[in-house]
Amino acid sequence: MHIDSVPDRATLVEMYRKMTLIKQNDEQARKVIMNGRLPMIYYSPRGQEVIPSAVSVNLTTDDYICTIYRGTHDMLAKGVPLDELWAELAGRATGTCKGKGGPMHITHPASGCMLTTGIVGSSMPIANGLALASQVKGDGRVTVAYFGDGASNIGAFHEALNMAAVWKLPVVFVCQNNRYGEHTRYEKTTAARQIADRAVGYQMPGVRVDGNDPLAMHAAARTAIERARAGEGPTLIEAMTFRFHGHVFGDMDPYMDKDEKSAAMAADPVPRYRAWLIEQGHASEAELADMERGLGQQIAQAIEKALAAPWPDVSELHKDVLAA
């Protein structure tokens, strides 16, 4: 582990807070779906908590992210508030998008979450545009585009990375390689030895990193974000992780290797990091237990508020289609 790059205590604990928030949010989300209180299409980010947590502590609120349907971890790490998030998941008028976007289209500019797309690969070209605006305006913002391993095989990936490199855009491409694209093992459809190698085709740095190692992920993200902010151009980060659950809620993942999956779950990065924090004296058991309890309550309250919130009025169908 990059000792030189160990962040300060506050940052280390903040990363854990984000990871815990994501993990607990996922656990409660799957519970409310399971017990029928909130039927929704849901793509669990469980197992991928470290990546956006380590990325986001290197970003300011003003920095932008573009994420995908599997994105609650990215959103929460960036600061999308629980109440509005849950109200949107529940399709209520008080949601981030008034209930019109839903799980696959959560948007919250106030926290820098500019886009959640349901189209594989489409977070990248749009992230370029946000970065282009920052470059032209000189506002110093950095944009992070999140996407999956499967998305690295679609045309938009190629066009976006080439353009970002040609224009030296302040953007970081974070590929969350969770080993599967829906039901398909990524090696089966991806001809690259590793996705990071594709950076060669754009003369941009391409790094593969253990996306479940908070310090390694933090270091890789920091380097890429600093590079982008300094005007030196984009970076492709391939963050290796593992999808703990099926592609979408309800998918019993018969196609997944059971041993590999249980091994990955046994190596759950969140408790592992928790133990490390305590062992290294960065945080006390009590402090973290406290935090966990608090987060669990906030999520539970957000869910209750959301389920009690009003539905959008049908007239909303005709609003926000075109500028009033």
Binding site: M104, V120, N153, I154, G181, T189
Partner: protein
């Protein structure tokens, strides 16, 4: 054999059609994201069992690359095969639109008939699952506007089976539209081998007072409304178009010539939709015969919303069809 069962759901019907087509012709190959058995035979299991039965060469899970998927289908078809490519959801077809519009639809014409593109592109869509703005659009009007393509959809498992077989063995590129909610719906099992011809509509319910022209998921509500109005002595004729392009003008014109009244209903956005073409044709060809203006039922001009009450209000249903019928009855 499932196909001999009294009832069959749409997934089994489609799966059976694919298996029979592959059995009949070694040129039939199937590919798309997750379609092979190691990938669980597709996200909706429409292709389940095919790779095990026909091998990895003829049934392939692909990268997430719709342009490459469509291109592979087009090229293989030009070389004499009959590829059936899956582009999971209709909204994703926009990624492959150059391949479908600039190439598949035009190569026969641009080559002066030297090359042909007998492909079937399967894609699903439809509201009802709260998949929101990027997973539920109906774009059949786009494909119908593209000369050189055939556009087909179904309203029951037997037609799903019979139409898919016809598309696979048709010598033109066919856009085969599946409705996601229909997958689990059952109906009378198809007669094995019985194909449903492309270009021929079905008069699903005869009636003398007003004609409802519809297709896909809008057929069921139309039939319900017809049943209800029958109680009031209003006889509604329901036509299931089945082929959207080229549509069965003859059947539709004959019906409306008799009833003098027509309603066209589809889930797609009403404005600039398929209903417009049919309405425009009817008023032109049946001028003087129509007893009332042709009414159109379709979704409002907005993206598909997420929130349940909004989604329910977005997709047209019995209420809208009934209102339109009553309006034509004046």
């Amino acid at each position: 054999m499932t196909s001999e069962a009294k009832n069959m759901n749409t997934v089994v019907a489609l799966n059976t059609a694919l298996a029979e087509a592959m059995e009949l012709d070694s040129g039939v190959i199937v590919f798309g994201e997750d379609v092979a058995d190691p990938e669980d035979g597709g996200v909706a299991y429409v292709t389940k069992g095919l790779s095990t039965r026909f091998g990895d060469a003829r049934v392939r899970s692909t990268p997430i690359s719709e342009q490459a998927i469509a291109g592979a289908a087009i090229g293989a078809a030009m070389a004499g095969m009959r590829p059936v490519a899956e582009i999971m959801m209709m909204n994703f077809s926009t990624v492959a639109m150059d391949m479908l519009f600039n190439h598949a639809a035009k190569l026969r014409f641009m080559s002066g008939g030297q090359t042909r593109v007998p492909i079937t592109i399967r894609m699903a869509t439809g509201t009802g699952l709260s998949t929101a703005g990027q997973h539920a659009d109906y774009l059949e009007a786009w494909f119908a506007h593209a000369a050189g393509l055939k556009v087909v959809t179904y309203a029951n498992p037997a037609d799903a089976y019979g139409l898919l077989l016809s598309c696979i063995f048709d010598d033109d590129p066919c856009i085969f539209i599946e409705n996601f909610l229909s997958y689990g719906q059952s109906g009378p099992a198809p007669v094995p081998g019985q194909r449903v011809p492309i270009g021929v509509a079905a008069v699903t319910r005869p009636g003398r007072d007003v004609t409802v022209v519809t297709y896909g998921p809008q057929v069921a509500p139309a039939l319900k409304v017809a049943e209800k109005l029958a109680g009031e002595g209003v006889q509604v004729e329901v036509i299931d178009l089945r082929t959207i392009s080229p549509w069965d003008k003859q059947t539709v014109l004959a019906s409306v010539a008799r009833t003098g009244r027509a309603v066209i209903s589809h889930e797609a956005v009403r404005a600039f939709g398929v209903g417009a073409e049919i309405a425009a044709t009817l008023q032109e060809e049946l001028w003087g015969t129509l007893k009332a203006p042709v009414r159109r039922v379709g979704a409002p001009s907005c993206p598909v919303p997420y929130s349940r009450p909004l989604e329910l209000a977005f997709a047209p249903g019995e209420a809208q069809v009934e209102a339109a019928i009553r309006a034509t009855l004046g």
